[in-house]
């Protein structure tokens, strides 16, 4: 599903050159739930951004579902992200000025769909995460766990085959974290969604199919 070969990422400023990723080789199979762990600054989020086409590698090859992503232009990259990838972030990134339902509809605005279709799909997604009764609320009226469930609904509303989650339980207490993890596990099991999750939580990582550890930009396990 996702194939990374000799991925390098170097950040350069006028005076400093930082090697964030160094020769990463990784294959994520279709339907796999993979977790990535490592200390802060080891390149976990950079790797996830590269997998999500939010950042371009300095070297190496990345192919997703058989497509060589180096050939894709801005418009194609945007379309690829919109249709194949769902993102979940540690700090949710909900738009506070939009109601829950409008937040969930967001990815659908960037593809051809009617308002009625968008409403229907967003309602279904919210139902899946157990927030069918919070559609008219604003994010500020929700708890952290509920916000992350809204973010999950937004990630799955477009029915992507891949979900990339960057520390989805990092801002939540253990009960809420477990709730969110249960939803991700269910999505992986029931819908066959491929999930790559960055986490600091060993307990959460153990619930996934496979664990990859990074250290100083290199894969150590």
């Amino acid at each position: 599903m996702i194939h990374l070969q000799q991925i390098e990422k170097v950040y350069r400023t006028d005076t400093v050159e930082t090697q964030a990723l160094n020769g990463i080789n990784l294959t994520v199979e279709k339907g796999e739930f993979l977790s990535i762990m490592g200390p802060s600054g080891c390149g976990k989020s950079t790797l996830l951004n590269i997998m999500g086409l939010l950042d371009a590698p300095s070297g190496g090859e990345l192919s997703i579902a058989g497509s060589d992503t180096r050939q894709l232009r801005d418009r194609q990259l945007a379309q690829f992200r919109n249709q194949r990838i769902g993102f979940i972030f540690q700090s949710y990134h909900l738009i506070n000025d939009l109601r829950v339902l409008d937040n969930v509809e967001l990815p659908l605005l960037y593809r051809k769909s009617t308002a009625k279709e968008r409403r229907g799909l967003a309602s279904d997604a919210l139902g899946k995460v157990g927030l069918g009764n919070r559609m008219k609320h604003f994010p500020s009226q929700l708890s952290g766990g509920q916000k992350q469930r809204v973010a999950i609904a937004r990630a799955i509303v477009g029915k992507p085959s891949i979900i990339l989650a960057d520390e989805p339980t990092g801002n939540l207490d253990s009960a809420m974290g477990n709730e969110v993890m249960e939803i991700l596990l269910r999505l992986n099991k029931e819908d066959g969604t491929t999930i790559v999750m960055v986490t600091h939580d060993e307990q959460m990582a153990r619930k996934t199919h496979r664990l990859v550890r990074l250290f100083d930009g290199a894969q150590v396990q």
Binding site: D74, I95, Y110
Partner: protein, 386 residues
């Protein structure tokens, strides 16, 4: 997407209130400025209806001795006119009233005819006036010395007054209050300046007596010394008079300049306002883009292209402009509906369209650069900033 933008703007209505108010007031000011400009431009485009080139306007003030008989005064004026007309380089001479072309003076008359009231500009002019200024008759004729024997006072009215009183009917022969019989209709003359509005007018034949104001039309090949020759002739006939000779062309320029002063003032004031509005909009959009970096990053992550982000920022500003604009248009439309200031409805409508187009152009220009900067936001960075 439009529905999404409307939702976003509606949910931020409190933050947008001041900008909304600023755009609303700006539209009203722009509407006033464009109304003034359209009104002046329309007047400028209207045919002048007479010629001003090679015409001198002469004022020869003379205090006649007390008890001078009217016939003597009339004779004095007639002799002067004959002398001037016989001069080489002089084509026509015409006695006029104080409100002759481009003079600052105005004289109106209240006339009611068939229950229609009008307040036309009331002119005094002699038999040679139409020839002197090359006025064009639309119907009938200009008065002549033969009308002196007529039982009624002959008058010539302009097209504007003819339309006001008679519509498409024939005004010739009709008698206005004061026993004034209409013998001709003259084409409208823009004698208050190129930017002045055409207003109803009525021309009365000059009475007997001394006339101190007249127009002198020079021939095409008149010598440059003609003006001084005229002065000498006047002084010979009216020794001791205070004589002033001006070119009608210069009077026209002065009158036009006077009409443009309020327009220029208004343009300067509104220019400052527009500059403030532009800076305000630019600042608000710039601030908004910086405050919404993570939102923009998110939108790019979920499928927005760089162009899509720019379009969204522009779209938001345009939708935000449309709301106060609609409110402003509702208010502006009341001007033609309620016939305020008595301007043509078309003037207001064109001004509304121009003000709206100008405001849209202004906000588009102000939002373009911040919109492009927003498109350059790197999602991987923006999403990890907070």
């Amino acid at each position: 997407m439009l529905q999404h933008l409307l939702t976003l703007i509606w949910n931020k209505k409190r933050q947008h209130f001041l900008l909304f108010l600023e755009l609303f007031v700006s539209f009203l000011v722009l509407f006033a400025v464009f109304t003034m400009l359209v009104f002046n431009y329309d007047n400028f485009r209207t045919p002048r209806g007479f010629e001003y080139q090679r015409i001198l306007t002469v004022t020869a003030s003379l205090r006649l001795p007390a008890g001078t008989p009217n016939d003597s005064a009339t004779l004095l004026s007639e002799q002067l006119k004959r002398s001037l007309k016989s001069m080489s380089g002089v084509a026509e001479v015409s006695y006029v009233g104080s409100n002759s072309p481009y003079m600052m003076s105005s004289m109106s008359d209240q006339i009611t005819y068939n229950n229609i009231s009008a307040q036309p500009e009331s002119y005094q002019a002699d038999d040679d006036y139409a020839r002197t200024v090359q006025a064009t008759m639309v119907r009938g004729r200009w008065y002549s010395r033969f009308d002196a024997a007529s039982g009624r006072r002959p008058v010539v009215i302009n097209e504007a007054l003819a339309e006001k009183f008679f519509g498409t009917g024939d005004p010739l022969g009709k008698v206005l209050p004061g026993d004034r019989q209409i013998i001709g209709v003259v084409k409208n003359m823009k004698d208050k300046g190129d930017y002045a509005e055409i207003s109803p007018g009525i021309f009365h034949r000059t009475d007997s007596g001394f006339h101190d104001k007249f127009l002198v039309k020079l021939t095409a090949g008149a010598a440059p010394s003609a003006e001084s020759q005229i002065y000498k002739t006047i002084m010979r006939h009216l020794p001791g008079s205070s004589t002033e000779i001006e070119k009608l062309e210069d009077k026209r320029v002065a009158r036009n300049r006077l009409a443009l002063i309020p327009v220029i003032l208004m343009l300067v004031i509104s220019g400052f306002l527009v500059l403030n509005v532009a800076l305000g909009i630019y600042g608000v959009v710039w601030y908004s883009v910086n405050k919404r970096r993570s939102e923009i990053g998110l939108r790019k992550a979920v499928g927005a292209t760089a162009g899509g982000i720019t379009r969204q920022i522009l779209g938001e500003v345009l939708v935000l402009t449309t709301l106060p604009l609609l409110l402003g248009i509702i208010l502006a439309v009341q001007f033609p509906v309620l016939r305020l200031f008595d301007l043509p409805a078309a003037t207001y409508m064109i001004a509304i369209l121009l003000a709206a187009a100008f405001l849209y152009l202004l906000v588009t220009l102000c939002a373009l650069y911040p919109g492009r900067q927003a498109a350059k936001i790197y999602p991987a960075v923006a999403l990890h900033e907070d």
